[in-house]
Point group: C2
Chain length 222, copies 2
């Protein structure tokens, strides 16, 4: 049938991906590498931050989160943002495999939808390094640590909102099956909606409280 | 020539806009209405805030900005986000005229590009009402006023970044002429890059300073 491209596993089926090369690694391998590296990063940050004096458990957990999300943004999303033809990759490059696999849940990645690439580019270039700065800022109790965490989390939420709303407006038909829709498009993005939201609320409260303290001090000084 | 649609003034010329109805109002009228209403809003907020005690001039200017940008987000961008077929509007509806005219600088508006509609939707629904809340928060010196201004300004900058980057990725060929490119696409958006950036920097400093004061107070309390 005309317009149907059988060389790739993505939906919509009429998506044109010339020279597409199927993925080499099974889903389990891709997930295991990501899971194990993330576990390693989180464990390292947890252990190292535990040796520093007076860092609360919640701050140590936040340092783990920022290290994990920062490296994900820089490495995984950074690769995607600047690899215009990852789906043509002929060798089993792990980063290309990740996006060949994830595109089953959202083919806008393989199709290089401009909105998706714009959001991923901002995430990789600005939010990635800023997340690593947050690890440092929390560890050294910088006065800007809350506003920095607030800014990055808000950026993550904004990016996710654009990502989901644009997909909805375009018909929400980019997943190869309901399994990939829920496992990749919904579940894999869930952490980046819940955790940033919790951080935004926490930082909002902390910052408002600090402003109140400063206002009271000013009033007393008069 | 096939694929060329001569019924609309937008670029790319092969953009398909069935039942397009040309604008009725001249550019000067559209700009005059927007300019005068904005002047009225800004003057009103300036005068009213001047009667309240102890609001600094910079805070009064910020209240004017938030009232102006909030109403622009809610009314103009709100209309666009939810009017899927404004370009078919047969009567001289002012809001439809605005977007028929602006589309000469960026035809993604008439074409209802998903990324643009997503950004405009978030701006209208979240940032618009939040901007009006900022007018109130500054006027009543709420402890959350800086973090609120910071959050909205960051959202505006994020939206603008997605807006410009996505256009660049799609070939940056959406303006009917260089005049419309620079007057509408560049100049009309300039305020929403410069002013939010200044507010973000100011709030970052204020919030970091407040956190430092709180930290010192905590250290003393020990």
């Amino acid at each position: 049938m005309a317009g149907i491209d059988t060389s790739h596993p993505y939906v919509p089926r009429d998506l044109h991906l010339p020279d597409f090369v199927p993925g080499f690694l099974p889903q389990s391998t891709i997930l295991a590498v990501y899971g194990l590296s993330s576990f390693l990063v989180v464990s390292l940050v947890w252990l190292i931050s535990g040796r520093a004096p007076k860092i609360s458990k919640i701050d140590r957990l936040l340092m783990c989160w920022w290290a994990f999300t920062g490296l994900t943004h820089i490495i995984l999303e950074g690769y995607f943002a600047f690899s215009t033809e990852f789906y043509k990759e002929k060798t089993p490059c792990y980063l290309a495999e990740v996006w060949k696999e994830y595109s089953k849940g959202d083919s806008r990645y393989a199709a290089r939808d401009a909105g998706v690439v714009a959001v991923e580019g901002i995430t990789a270039v600005l939010e990635g390094p800023a997340s690593l700065l947050a690890v440092y800022a929390i560890g050294t109790k910088k006065p800007y640590n809350f506003i920095l965490q607030f800014a990055i989390s808000l950026g993550q939420l904004y990016g996710l909102a654009v990502y989901f709303i644009a997909s909805y407006l375009e018909g929400d038909n980019f997943a190869a099956s309901p399994y990939y829709y829920y496992a990749y498009y919904i579940a894999a993005n869930a952490s980046w909606s819940v955790i940033p939201l919790l951080i935004v609320i926490r930082c909002w409260k902390k910052i408002s409280a600090a402003s109140q303290v400063q206002d009271q001090k000013k009033s007393k000084a008069r």
